[in-house]
Structure formats: C-alpha cells, structure tokens
C-alpha cells in the first residue's frame, strides 16, 4: 500500500507544474448569457484543454479520451469538470463550438474568448496557437468557399487544476488513458 502511494507520488512528478501556482483566472461569457468563472469551480478538479473544431485528429482524440476518462472514473467523475477552450474563435462560433463539444460529452463546457482576452489567457497558461496555411499552389482550385482551410498548430494536453484551485499538472496529449486516470484520480482523492 505504502509502496503504491509512493510510486504514485513519484510518478506524478513527470507532469507536475513547478512551482505549483494558482490557476490563472479564466472568465468567459457563455451563449446562455451567463458568465463562466473558473474560480466558481473550487472544490472540483478541473481539466482544461485547448483546441479548435476544424481539427480532424488531435482535438477529437483529446475529447474522446476525456469522455472515456469520465466514464472510467464512475462516481468520482461528479467532481470532475472538463473545459474546452477554442484557439480559433474566428471560425468557432459559439453554436459550432457547443455542438462540437456536446458530441463528445454533454457535461463538458466549451468556451470562446476573443482578442485580448484570449491572448491573455493563452499567455497565462503558456499555450501557443499559430495558424498554418496550406501552400497556395496546392489549393489554387480547392473546393472551399469563403473558408481557407487552415489548420492551427497548438499546445495540446491536459491542464489539471486541483480542488483548491491550484494548477498542478500539465499532462501531454499522448499520455495513455490509464496513466491520465491515475493522475486525475490522485487529485480527486485529495481532501480540499
């Protein structure tokens, strides 16, 4: 038992945010007109993830994984909140973003911030997002209308905030689900 605990603690150092810091503030107006405040989720474990809906691979993989994580956590998942923040607010309308996230899990929260608010948030979490345009020659006669098919290079992974509002872990996107579960469970089992 002791050995298991020690191993658990030691292994989580792989992902620890050092030094642990209060999670940077996050506020956004939702389509319902209400304001989302990260600080209102004190007492819960929160996983933040950044991405965009036109992403064919990384973001669906991340969100489906989080859905599976929630399933595997069973009752514990009642104290877990998942928040997906778009890094592509120009294409991701509120509606599109909500529809997208709901396909993966109706309990997940989708947030859209624009301009300075988004820039400030990305900087605070040390997240980068850069558009990548396909070379114009290959796309000179593409079938898109009014939408350049750019993709966004962005920071992936899971930013995990503990019940006390501290940003504790930054887990890489390709971490196996079992390992992700181990880390999140660890934080869920902590007392506030």
């Amino acid at each position: 038992m002791l050995a298991v605990l020690l191993t658990g603690c030691w292994r989580d150092k792989d992902f620890a945010v050092e030094p642990a810091q209060e999670a940077p503030a996050l506020e956004a107006t939702r389509s319902s007109g209400t304001t989302f405040r990260l600080s209102a989720l004190r007492g819960k474990v929160v996983i933040l993830s950044f991405g965009y809906t036109a992403c064919p691979d990384v973001c669906p993989t991340t969100l489906s994984r989080l859905n599976n994580l929630q399933r595997r956590l069973g009752m514990l998942s009642q104290d877990l909140e998942v928040v997906f923040i778009t890094v592509d607010p120009e294409r991701d309308t509120e509606r599109r973003l909500n529809d997208y996230v709901n396909v993966f899990n109706r309990r997940f929260t989708a947030l859209r911030l624009e301009d300075e608010a988004l820039t400030k948030l990305l900087t605070a979490y040390r997240v980068t997002a850069t558009r990548r345009y396909p070379d114009s020659e290959r796309y000179s006669n593409h079938a898109f209308t009014g939408e350049m098919p750019y993709t966004v290079d962005h920071t992936g992974g899971y930013f995990v905030i503990d019940r006390g509002g501290t940003l504790r872990l930054r887990i890489p996107y390709d971490t196996p689900l079992e390992r992700l579960q181990e880390s999140v469970e660890g934080l869920l089992q902590e007392e506030l």
Binding site: P56, D57, V58, S64, R96, N105, R132, P134, H154, Y173
Partner: protein, 155 residues
C-alpha cells in the same frame, strides 16, 4: 454545389479510374494468391465541424516496398495524408504530399495522434464512407470505412 461536384467525382470513381490505373473493382486484398498489400482495421471519425480522420493499417506482405500515394472519397471534397508532429507540447499537422512509404514485409499504421487521412467537408453516412487508396505499386484499393462514434477512444 460543392456536394454535387463531390458526388459526380464519386460516380466517376465507381465507373473506373482514368489513366490506366490498375484498379480492381472492390478488390481488397488485391492479390488473391500469395503475398499482398492489405488494408486492415480501417475506421473513420467524423465531427460536426465536417472534418474527419481515417485511421487504418497497411500491411505489406510482398517483397517490395510500396507507397500510399493519395486517397479520395465520394463523401468528402478532399482527402489529405497528414501526420501530427509534436514539438515539445505544440502539435502540428504536417502534410505528406509525397505519401507514406510502406516497407517490404512491413506495415504502416495510421492512428490517432499520428499519421492519418484528413477528410474535408465530409458528409456522414450510416453505411460508412467509401475510400479509394492509391498505392504506387499495388494500384488502387477501394474500401468501405465504418464510421465510429466521435466519443469513442479509437486507439
């Protein structure tokens, strides 16, 4: 308009490929006897944003290297060969217009978070989506790809 264009393309593909490609109708695997290039475990994930990804394994049981050159689908306006590449924790999708090499006696895996086919403006169908893969040596392979629920972990 875009949809109709794509459908016309799809019909053309079913009728036959121009340019003398070694297409064999519905052929998978391609060679009935002995060594072959086969496609296994193909599955697609589509999202409400009308993009999608196809994952599959290509097994090359032949004694010569081959290459997956390109892909098409009547359900999508465009299919590209992509790979997710991580630089520290930043993920980029890199296009592979040169295709994916498949070593002799080896295989190439298209998996979430790695190599995949990206589908643009894809329309979902309960029957799955059709896909045509063009290989350098093997020629064209047509297959039907089941669509997996978006919330499934597909690894």
């Amino acid at each position: 308009m875009g949809g109709r264009g794509a459908r016309t393309l799809g019909v053309m593909l079913l009728v036959g490929l121009p340019g003398g490609c070694r297409t064999r109708e519905g052929a998978e695997p391609l060679r009935t006897s002995g060594a072959s290039v086969r496609v296994e475990r193909a599955r697609a994930r589509l999202t409400p944003a009308q993009v999608g990804a196809v994952y599959l394994s290509v097994v090359n049981a032949t004694e010569s290297a081959d290459r997956l050159l390109s892909a098409e689908s009547s359900s999508a306006t465009k299919v590209e060969l992509h790979e997710v590449v991580a630089r520290e924790d930043v993920l980029s999708m890199v296009m592979h217009p040169e295709g994916f090499p498949i070593p002799a006696g080896g295989r190439v895996e298209l998996v979430p978070g790695g190599k995949h086919l990206m589908l643009y403006n894809v329309r979902a169908s309960a029957d799955g989506i059709d896909l045509l893969l063009r290989f350098e040596k093997t020629g064209a392979v047509r297959l039907n790809v089941p669509v997996v629920a978006a919330d499934e972990d597909m690894r």
